[in-house]
Amino acid sequence: MDSSITQRMRAGVFLCLSLCISTSCVKQQSNVERGNQAQELYIGIGTEPEALDPHIVTGVTEHYVLLSLLEGLVTRNPATLAIEPGVASSWTLSEDGLRYTFQLDANARWSNGDQVTANDFLFAFERILSPALGAPYAYMLHSMRGAKAFNSGEFKDFSKVGASASDPLTLVIELNSPTPYFLGLLTHYTWWPVHPPTVLKHGSMTDRISDWTKPQHFVGNGPFALKSWRLNAGIEVTKNQHYRDARNVRLNGIHFLPIEGDAEERAFRTGHIHLSSTIPTHRIEWYQTHAANNIRFDTYLGTYYYAVNTEHGPLADARVRKALAYAINREALTEHILGAGQKPAHHFTPPDTGGYSATARFPYDPQQARQLLAEAGFPKGVGFPKFELLYNTSESHRSIALAIQQMWKRELGIEITLYNQEWKVYLASRKAKDFDIVRAAWIGDYDDANTFLELATGGSGNNHSGWSQPQYDALIAQAAVEPDPAARFEYFQQAEAILLDEMPFIPIYFYVRSLLINESVQGWHPNVLDYHPYQSISLAN
């Protein structure tokens, strides 16, 4: 009897297990298959967005999401990067180049059906520039007359700032000086509007901690509306039926998934995402061999460089800094260590930044490097004190630093120590100038050489080298007010030549955006700004 009960129990357990396994192991339809049918895009965005408030965030990840939820006065054509109408259907520029008048599209609507008005933009400008909000990117609006003074608390009356609305659909923006790249600036999320009633319903205008960006409250004017957001699980947006150009939006929804590293690559390989934010370096070769159609290296507006602390020791001598720069074989680095299509950097500003390409170059020339070092008093590196190279903890930074350490030792006889610090410690060390040489990178905020070359001015908070030169600063200042593009570029050329002659920054390589992309994704055009308005994208079945 006991035995038969045991046997029946065993049979029952076996049956249950079999059922569990058979039901759980039915192959699910992949996100890509499901997405292609439903016109829903699945994108890997790497890290979790810190917020969805365009006036607080600073990251690239946030840009990917906000581009679906909000829209500024103008947009760009993703294929050509030409400026195209956004909320503003047309605009005019005064003859002196100081006053833009934007005519807003009467069909522009918030996701709750409210009309987008010029006052919404004024509210947004006042909000981001209010000192109390502490917006990290408020400086993006400083080309507007009075914006910098208002932002730094010099006066509190926003009406003195050069932004006004003559009627609900006419917005006037006045500039400090002619700014040829101004329309390009407007495509940055710092210039985008927020819905005033929603912001004010959940706090004051300058509340950093507010519920207005929660899915149940968020009101945007972009092609998509926020549906759900769960930290570390993803953000889902659905088509905004009130969007001014909703009929031309082909996607019905987008899923932004914060998957990192190898997991993201695995997600792509198994059809869980259409697009990845990056590719792990060790997988590049496999894709190049087996799935070349799915891998892409798009030129990107960014420079990877080493900033030299010019304030003490032998590194204060420009000849030493140039010797270090000339002794690095960037071609070998980009080809054998990085291997994702990065371009060797023999100048600082990436090529064709807003039409500007530097003519000044510095060479890979170990012989000249040795000569410069000898002139500085260190023939063959003899007597050169040991110094340190700081980088934030990362395998790829380490690989590059190791290779450069070897190059400097071989070519110049200089010994350096590498040390890495966890991200926040690294930032603190860099801020305190507690380094000899530090890894750094700059991604352009907008498509103009100014965003790169301004970095090395004496007043720039991002110039960690401690180097400054009045002539250089004057050239950048002249370029900022020069209306003639050719003359501006000439100022930039001269400035860049000084920069390369002084070498406070040692350029290493220009970035590329490496990504995995499913064949079904249409309209994801390569461009240096990594700008991909979702209204241009569709999925082929």
Binding site: C25, D53, V57, N232, A233, T270, W423, L427, A441, G461
Partner: protein, 305 residues
């Protein structure tokens, strides 16, 4: 019993206070701040942000403010994720980790206990070595190796499971095994040594002398005592399991608490670090108390201690 529980709860209060204070001070002294970014902000902006979160106050004022909020049950806003409260994040992610940890514990017990007992009952036989080699493998294979191997076999190879996510019931299988197998290996070793030790006791010899079958001796008399070390182990183990695993959650893209444990420290998200540390401390204290109670139930001799 109730006196014991009350005493333990009272003891927990100063323990939690010490943990909270130490965490607060360590965070205060850690280099780098929550609002340091790649593109540094101006000093004015930095001041505004710090004033917003009270970080411009002297240390003692920040501490008093923090303790006051803690007593009110308010862990404050996350510094990293603007607009999210720490309680909100924990409420969203802890249930996921709890579910994953619970399933992993089941895996660990279901695999570890029988292996350990079977190995003890086959002492000095080749099958014992085989079983314990399996257990050793579980200990030696870290989850960042085991997870991708399981994915390679059962997701990429056989296509039985999704490679990542937490949407379907089947999404629980591979993460639970990955997380549970390590604990299963420990449990197997503890169960084996516990059973070997128990089987040498006089009362087992007596039971055998009375003519009881070996099965009855094992199941009715030896098992409860043999599992004593396992129960002692699973207290802190459960706290570790259900508070999330950074590695497993990252490999399988699970929206649990484990990633916040690690990333909040890297991000200097002070309030989030405090929230996760205190949660972990409470879980440790709670499960140690439960284990004590369970051991009292299992061993009558300890009830009057």
């Amino acid at each position: 019993m109730f006196t014991h529980i009350a005493r333990r709860i009272l003891q927990a209060i100063p323990t939690l206070w010490v943990i909270a204070t130490l965490t607060f001070l360590l965070l205060y002294w850690a280099p780098g701040g929550p609002f340091d970014t790649e593109k540094p902000v101006t000093a004015e902006v930095q001041e505004q942000i710090e004033a917003h979160y009270g970080l411009n106050l002297p240390l003692h004022q920040q501490y008093c403010r923090f303790l006051g909020n803690l007593l009110k049950g308010d862990l404050g806003p996350s510094y990293k994720y603007a607009g999210w409260d720490v309680q909100e994040i924990i409420a969203q992610s802890f249930p996921v980790s709890l579910e994953l940890g619970g399933l992993a514990l089941l895996v660990a017990l279901a695999i570890g206990t029988p292996i350990g007992i079977a190995a003890a009952l086959r002492h000095n036989r080749p099958s014992e070595s085989a079983l314990m080699t399996f257990a050793m493998l579980g200990i030696c294979l870290p989850s960042f190796v085991l997870g991708p191997i399981l994915l390679l076999l059962f997701s990429a190879g056989l296509g039985w499971f999704n490679p990542l996510g937490w949407a379907y019931a089947s999404d629980r299988v591979l993460p639970a095994i990955t997380l549970g197998l390590f604990y299963a290996a420990y449990i197997a070793r503890l169960a084996r040594s516990g059973m070997l030790d128990t089987m040498r006791h006089d009362y087992i010899r007596t039971a055998r002398a009375k003519g009881l079958s070996e099965r009855l001796v094992v199941w009715r008399h030896a098992l409860r005592t043999a599992l004593y070390p396992v129960v002692a182990y699973i207290g802190p183990a459960v706290a570790g399991l259900i508070s999330g695993s950074f590695v497993v959650e990252t490999i399988f893209f699970i929206p649990g608490l484990g990633r916040f444990f690690v990333n909040s420290a890297f991000n200097r998200d002070y309030t989030m670090v405090m929230g996760t540390v205190l949660l972990y401390a409470v879980l440790i204290l709670l499960f140690n108390l439960l284990v004590d109670l369970l051991q009292m139930w299992m061993n009558p001799r300890t009830r009057n201690d």
